[in-house]
Symmetry: none
Subunit: 211 residues, 4 copies
């Protein structure tokens, strides 16, 4: 009902057949994102998705091969958005820990605006493992470039290549668990991450835990 309205943007005057098709596809992906975000992959039935998208069940199969197919495409679809958001949010000129902090904040900011994304990302390891692996590949690669530049700038020292990769996993892990624990209020609704958590994270990165 009114739920749909969020997905249906104001349509431009005339849509060619092809545009309309693309739009339907987008509608289905957005609907799937919402359903998975709210109920999880396991509960994301074609019926729910198509109903939310406002199309018939059969229409679904004009755009995706199977239920698994759209689940596999969900994380790439959202993941690209997230990476774009982070890239665009990162102020120019930041370096060192400040740059890393900005990155973290941008991630949490995206999560705050797209409350379903955490679940889409987290459950993907179980329900869309290929997509999850690919998403991680991209994330790790991006991160590696960033850390390599930091090493080149002399901001990081004492870690060889392999160790840096392990560190990246630690950083991604921290992001994820912090989101899991702190990025929602008592009722489970999305919310901003408390400042002291970011502070703790930054302290670990700048001076370690054991002084």
């Amino acid at each position: 009902m009114s739920k749909q309205s969020a997905l249906h943007r104001q349509p431009p005057r005339r849509l060619s057949r092809e545009e309309k098709a693309r739009e339907t596809r987008r509608l289905l992906l957005e609907a799937a994102a919402e359903v998975v975000g709210n109920d999880g992959y396991a509960e994301a039935s074609i019926a729910k998705i198509t109903q939310l998208a406002g199309v018939a069940q059969g229409t679904f199969y004009n755009y995706f091969d199977s239920r698994q197919d759209i689940l596999d495409k969900l994380l790439p679809y959202m993941g690209r958005e997230m990476l774009d958001h982070i890239a665009q949010s990162l102020p120019r000129g930041l370096a060192g820990p400040a740059r890393e902090e900005a990155r973290l904040r941008a991630f949490f900011d995206y999560l705050d605006r797209h409350p379903g994304f955490y679940r889409i990302l987290y459950e993907a390891e179980v329900f869309a493992p290929k997509a999850h692996a690919e998403h991680f590949r991209v994330l790790v690669e991006g991160y590696r470039n960033a850390l390599d530049r930091a090493v080149a700038r002399g901001e990081i020292a004492g870690y060889d290549e392999d160790e840096l990769e392990a560190v990246i996993y630690v950083l991604l892990a921290a992001r994820s668990y912090i989101a899991m624990r702190y990025a929602r209020d008592e009722k489970g609704h999305a919310g901003p991450v408390p400042e002291h958590v970011i502070k703790a994270y930054m302290k670990v990165l700048t001076k370690g835990l054991f002084s």
Copy 2:
């Protein structure tokens, strides 16, 4: 067939009625652990579990209220085992970073011996959220005590109580992601975590990332 035999230990001569019942219950939990460890919660059907346990489907409901019920009890059942293992593995007298490193190694060691545990733990957030939350509560509490003692010993400084909790999440996160990435070989089989990964982890904890 022979799969069952692992679960069926040599039975003591005579089992009282109550003992037999406890034994059946244990059988079901072990079977569920194996099924979930191998196939995941989503694929863990009552049929599979009871077949592996060697009892009829109906028998299941004499011991658990529902499918969800046993799934909820799985992580506590296994989690206790893991914590015991870590506690028993920790050498006396270690302190500071060395103690933390030993804890980490003990965790990976448990994972290596119980390859299914990672999946039981990881997927629990999705399929047994209550149990997952409770497991985390216990983990965090134990960790907090450990860190508090480290603080008292002067090994850690500069973190207030709330920050320490955030750090704990970072530590647990790191464990988990490292396990996800490094605790299995190319074929997905369980294996030991490479030394350089543990080294990187320890470096972060002792001197931070940005020097």
Copy 3:
């Protein structure tokens, strides 16, 4: 409703669990035979079969792996019955053409009593090809033995082994097409084959077409 009554025989006082299971299986096969006989394999849905058998749809899958599975088992189930009927109907002591004529009549007699069998047999080539091939293998083998004995008795001469097999196919073909054309009245209901048809068949076998 009343349709079911035909399948449900008077039950013996007490059925053990296993007997009851066998009975349910029989019920399903009989129901499938009736449905396929009336509507054809293509229209034989699980819903129709289980409804006629008086069990829930899910029950079906306790006895057969799939829809195809029961379709594959239908012809063997009915075919055995038919062969038994022919074997029991054949009077002792007949030989030569008279024996062949008796065989033919027994076949048509079975068809008259089991009107659905023709369709089950005919459509099997399309919908249950394995079963159809196996059925033919059995038929041909039985026929070959019969013809070999006729050769041994001197009733047939001038055909080598390979030619005899081809003749068998001609005989089976004739049976089948005669059934298709003559074993039903104008309304498609089963009925006896006219005498002149059997006469023509026998004439061909005894003196050929071209005198």
Copy 4:
């Protein structure tokens, strides 16, 4: 891809609207014949047919009322071709058994060149019963004329009109079953019928089975 090319003949320079329509219709029929020949009626979806014909799904309904409609028209379309082939293949001046043998060979020859025809014909009894009946009516009528002439020439004697019809069914049956059994190699590909089979068939027709 290249599959279509077989159906699309070199088009004459300019097609009038009506010619183009006839051509599309022919394309659809040929495509249907290929699909049914390969996959059977049951698997002959509109999607497959139109794709092979190279037209949109909707276009189909400008030429045929329904899926069943084209299936009903398939056998008449192909059957006419087959009868023409047999008529043209029959050498002049043959009579008696030799003429019948030539007819049989012409039939198998057609089958060899149009491997899909057997399936179109055979399955038609199930999926296009009206067309099948009509096809048989035409076949029987043609055959009756031929046999009547043979009777008039004194080549056949001792069969009255009704019996002759039954014989015709036997002959058609033999054709069909021989095709089913012998007109394909081990892999199911079309192939010529072995000589000994034709010989056996002719022996039955000329001297009967029981000497």
